[in-house]
């Protein structure tokens, strides 16, 4: 809880920075604040304290996810530091919006009451609608913001309706009470309860961008400024999947049979469609957007196979995915410069222009593709092992095939970096901070791959 307060405070501080004129120090203050928030989580470990009449529960699941959110946010601010310097206007506003959406993500990871879930999603989304359109001179950016807003509102409508129907059927917003009620009144649940569950599923599937509710994702990811895209595909995705997990694993496990078949269909679609579509993209941001949708499919596969036992696997998968994504987007951000649509040709000969960035991106892509010994492999491995143990072998075969397809489009970028001749033969200079970040991300990738136990022990 203290961590949440610290993060809220940070966003107020960053608004004050404009008036009190300490903009220069803002990124450093935010990073230190987030680190402090993460440190505060330690003292709440194993306490499971509830706040505001059980509206929020900081159990170990919530604490672990909050820690991951804080950690990835720190990496994100590090990566975005020179973006903020290059865009001096509204720097404090943007920082503040980002931190508010982190607050939303923390609420989504720790809610125990559907009202809190709604608040969390809205705090997160409203900030993002603005951020997606923050590149005011770019039509794509404005289009992205508008699309995101329309689609997001639509999804929120579903979500609210679902929450209302669930409340009508069970008389509570509290997900644990709903779980208890559905267990004890399993035979007498009204039919609109099930309609409510499906609406919740649709609303949350929008937020995690699962197929067929993913159509906004490529356009929004492609149009938004690259740093914002990086934020959406890591921090936002972690928050949304945590919310999804809490809702269905804690709130609705006893009605598993109503939603499991639909979820399985969604899982297969989310594995197959984006991975195939990504093959035909030439814009790297869109490739990464589709790949990010595809990765949701693997997480959903773990969840489908074992809704209540998958938390460790989901957590590890998200951690490895987020580190690799931040690494990929940080290089993308440096390579694109001022251009708006970055194609694979931009990466031609990157290994000659800047070996460190090329190696960093290669490791990120190998991890996303699931090649050992990188953490993406262990993530996929655990998903597959879990699914095989639960008897979902046909789904695993689908997932193995889609991850082979994934190898194809990730390797298009790798081959461009090492094999093609560069368009500009000049070296690509990067700042010391970015070099250090690339180095840290490479170390992190190896560390996650060599010590998966350290991450898994947080949540199992």
């Amino acid at each position: 809880m203290n961590a949440l307060l610290v993060i809220c405070g940070l966003s107020i501080v960053s608004l004050l920075a404009e008036i009190a004129n300490f903009k220069k120090w803002l990124t450093a203050i935010v990073i230190l604040g987030l680190a402090a928030a993460a440190a505060l989580l330690v003292q709440d470990w194993n306490t499971s304290v509830s706040y505001f009449s059980d509206m929020l529960v900081f159990d170990n699941f919530a604490l672990a996810f909050t820690g991951l959110l804080a950690f990835i946010s720190i990496l994100w601010f590090w990566m975005a530091s020179d973006y903020f310097q290059a865009q001096p206007h509204h720097r404090t506003d943007r920082t503040s919006l980002i931190i508010f959406s982190i607050v939303g993500a923390v609420l989504m990871a720790s809610y125990n009451n559907m009202a809190m879930l709604f608040l969390g999603i809205e705090i997160l989304s409203l900030s993002l609608y603005v951020l997606a359109g923050s590149n005011k001179d770019s039509l794509f950016s404005i289009e992205a913001a508008f699309k995101y807003f329309l689609m997001g509102s639509f999804a929120t409508g579903f979500l609210l309706m679902g929450i209302a129907l669930l409340y009508g059927a069970t008389g509570s917003f509290d997900i644990r009470e709903i779980a208890a009620f559905t267990t004890s009144h399993a035979d007498t649940l009204p039919s609109f309860f099930y309609a409510g569950v499906l609406m919740l599923l649709v609303g949350l599937a929008f937020k995690i961008s699962a197929v067929p509710f993913h159509f906004w994702a490529p356009d929004v990811y492609g149009g938004a400024p690259t740093t914002v895209t990086a934020f959406m595909s890591t921090v936002v995705k972690i928050g949304a999947l945590a919310a999804f997990y809490r809702m269905f694993a804690i709130g609705l496990p006893s009605t598993h049979s109503t939603w499991s078949t639909i979820l399985m269909v969604i899982t297969v679609l989310t594995l197959v469609l984006p991975n195939i579509t990504a093959v035909y993209q030439s814009h790297v941001k869109r490739i990464l957007a589709y790949s990010s949708v595809g990765h949701v499919g693997y997480i959903l596969l773990a969840f489908t196979a074992d809704p209540t036992g998958a938390s460790g696997v989901v957590y590890y998968y998200l951690a490895s995915y987020a580190v690799a994504s931040i690494a990929a987007f940080s290089v993308l951000h440096l390579v694109e410069g001022n251009s708006e649509s970055i194609t694979i040709e931009y990466f031609n000969g990157l290994f000659k222009r800047n070996p460190l960035l090329a190696v960093g991106l290669t490791i990120a892509l190998l991890s996303l593709a699931g090649i050992p010994p990188f953490p993406g492999f262990f993530g996929k491995y655990m998903v597959f092992a879990l699914a095989i143990a639960q008897g979902y072998t046909p789904l695993v075969i689908v997932a193995v095939v889609t991850s082979l397809i994934g190898v194809y489009y990730y390797f298009r970028i790798i081959i461009a970096m090492y094999f093609q001749e560069p368009q500009q033969a000049t070296p690509l200079p990067v700042s010391g901070a970015q070099r250090a970040l690339a180095f840290v991300l490479i170390i992190l990738s190896f560390a996650l791959g060599i010590f998966p136990d350290a991450v898994l022990s947080l949540i199992q």
């Binding site: 190998l366 090649i371 262990f378 082979l404 081959i415 090492y418």
Partner: protein, 491 residues
């Protein structure tokens, strides 16, 4: 034991130093490191007790969440292949000294990472660890070929990568399946997987046999899984080709001996004959294609398919002489093919061509090179008193005892091998010198330093192979004894 850990991680450590500091003397550093590695493995051979037990074992839990142990150790079979790896790597590094290589520290670093992964494959005693090293080995060789390779390497190396990755995914599925068959809290430990595999009914053993066999067959490669190989060998830089053909293809055969034969005996009994037939088809098929090749490097690539086919056939005969023949022939083939690719590299660097018809008459201007080439060629065609003879004799003998007709067909490899190798010699070395070869310089000191030891090894192993055979014999015998007991009880 400390020594296994050292063998594994010392190359990695040096590679990390090379990546981090990019020293000007990268190649010297890499060479010194690989010589230290060779010295340690020679010391190992000296102190290695000639028993069938797995020695120098290290076993620590790595990832408790899915029962992965860092378990490594060596028996005679592993030791011979570790020796092959540590023997060839310094010479591979030395063979690159005459040319300037862009981004040298990355190049030599990747070779050393490759060495680490190969030793890991040969030492792993845990199923998942074996798989991890198996895949890790793919990454450095892929980048060596992609960055320093020849024409059209983007497409060809990608095919190579996807082909081998897809194959090994089958193996992973089989290993995970076996993992869930182990009792209690599951484990990937080798013995436990053996027992789980042997307890399965025939149908499931057959499925696992095919899943594993496809992974190994692609790596070797055995017909009809070989289509990636000639292109990749041709397009790879010389050192990459040496790593691929000299050491990496032995991963496939090692996989068969260690992770297939003892794992699913009933499956092997049911499908081993098919595997032998495929291997024998590969021998004839690849030899015939080799005969009509115009490109020197491509010709040796196909000859490699033929040789490995015979090794694979011998291993699947499940006889001591077959597996022992496979062991000694793996060593011999590694040395011979390394030397051949180096000779091709020397010729093509000087004449700027690898097309056989454009060469000729090198004998007249480079007698030392010609002599070396003759010895290596005789090793390749398995003349008595060369290393190739010991292996091929044992192998053909074992295939003959296994099935007479197949043995006769497999024996054709010697004749066909002689046809394409002698024809190669004739076209490149003898005849009149032409404009391309007229100013051909003989071997330099550095080239002699690489090739003379190889010539010596080919002769020494050919004349007195017993010390090497003794290393692996107890392990092979015990591996096959378990095997025959089990298949007897199955029947």
């Amino acid at each position: 034991m400390f020594i296994t850990i050292f063998l594994l991680f010392f190359p990695l450590l040096v590679a990390l130093l090379l990546f981090a500091f990019k020293p000007a003397q990268a190649k010297m550093l890499a060479l010194v490191a690989s010589i230290i590695e060779l010295a340690v493995s020679l010391y190992l051979v000296v102190i290695f007790p000639r028993t069938d037990a797995v020695q120098f074992v290290v076993d620590v839990p790595w990832v408790r969440a899915f029962g992965l142990h860092f378990a490594v150790g060596m028996d005679g079979i592993s030791l011979l292949l570790v020796l092959l790896t540590t023997l060839l790597v310094p010479f591979i590094i030395l063979s690159s000294f005459s040319r300037t290589i862009e981004k040298a520290s990355t190049f030599y670093g990747l070779i050393l990472v490759m060495q680490m992964a190969l030793i890991g494959v040969f030492c792993a005693l845990d199923g998942l660890l074996f798989y991890l090293f198996w895949e890790i080995a793919l990454i450095p060789i892929y980048f060596i070929c992609l960055i320093w390779g020849g024409e059209d390497r983007g497409r060809i190396t990608f095919k190579f990568f996807v082909y081998t990755l897809a194959g090994s995914l089958f193996m992973l599925v089989a290993l995970v399946y076996l993992y869930f068959q182990t009792p209690g809290t599951h484990t990937f430990a080798m013995q436990a997987l053996y027992e789980a595999g042997r307890a399965l009914p025939l149908y499931e053993q057959s499925l696992i046999f095919w899943a594993m066999f496809v992974a190994f067959a692609i790596k070797m490669p055995v017909f009809p899984f070989h289509t990636w190989q000639p292109d990749t060998y041709t397009v790879a830089p010389t050192q990459g080709t040496m790593l691929l053909s000299g050491i990496m293809l032995k991963m496939g055969i090692y996989g068969v001996i260690r992770w297939l034969l003892p794992l699913v005996p009933a499956g092997v009994a049911a499908w081993g004959f098919t595997a032998v037939v495929l291997s024998v088809i590969g021998i004839i098929y690849a030899s015939c294609i080799a005969i009509v090749q115009k490109d020197f490097k491509r010709l040796i690539a196909y000859s490699s398919v033929a040789h490995v086919g015979l090794i694979s056939a011998g291993a699947f005969t499940l006889s001591t002489i077959g597996v022992q023949g496979a062991m000694i022939q793996m060593l011999s083939h590694g040395i011979v093919v390394f030397a051949l690719f180096y000779i091709i590299d020397i010729i093509s660097q000087r004449t700027k061509t690898r097309t056989l018809s454009e060469l000729g008459g090198i004998r007249n201007v480079a007698p030392v090179l010609t002599t070396v080439f003759v010895v290596v060629m005789l090793g390749s065609v398995a003349l008595p008193f060369t290393s190739g003879f010991v292996g091929e004799f044992l192998l053909i003998n074992s295939v003959f005892q296994y099935h007479g007709v197949l043995g006769v067909i497999a024996g054709l490899t010697i004749i066909l091998g002689a046809v394409y190798m002698l024809r190669t010699f004739q076209q490149s070395m003898s005849g009149e010198t032409n404009a391309v070869t007229a100013r051909f310089a003989d071997l330099t000191t550095q080239e002699k330093l690489v090739l003379y030891p190889m010539v010596l090894l080919i002769l020494v192993i050919g004349i007195y192979p017993a010390p090497l055979l003794e290393i692996s014999e107890p392990a092979v015998a015990s591996l096959l004894k378990i095997y025959s007991n089990l298949s007897a009880s199955v029947k």
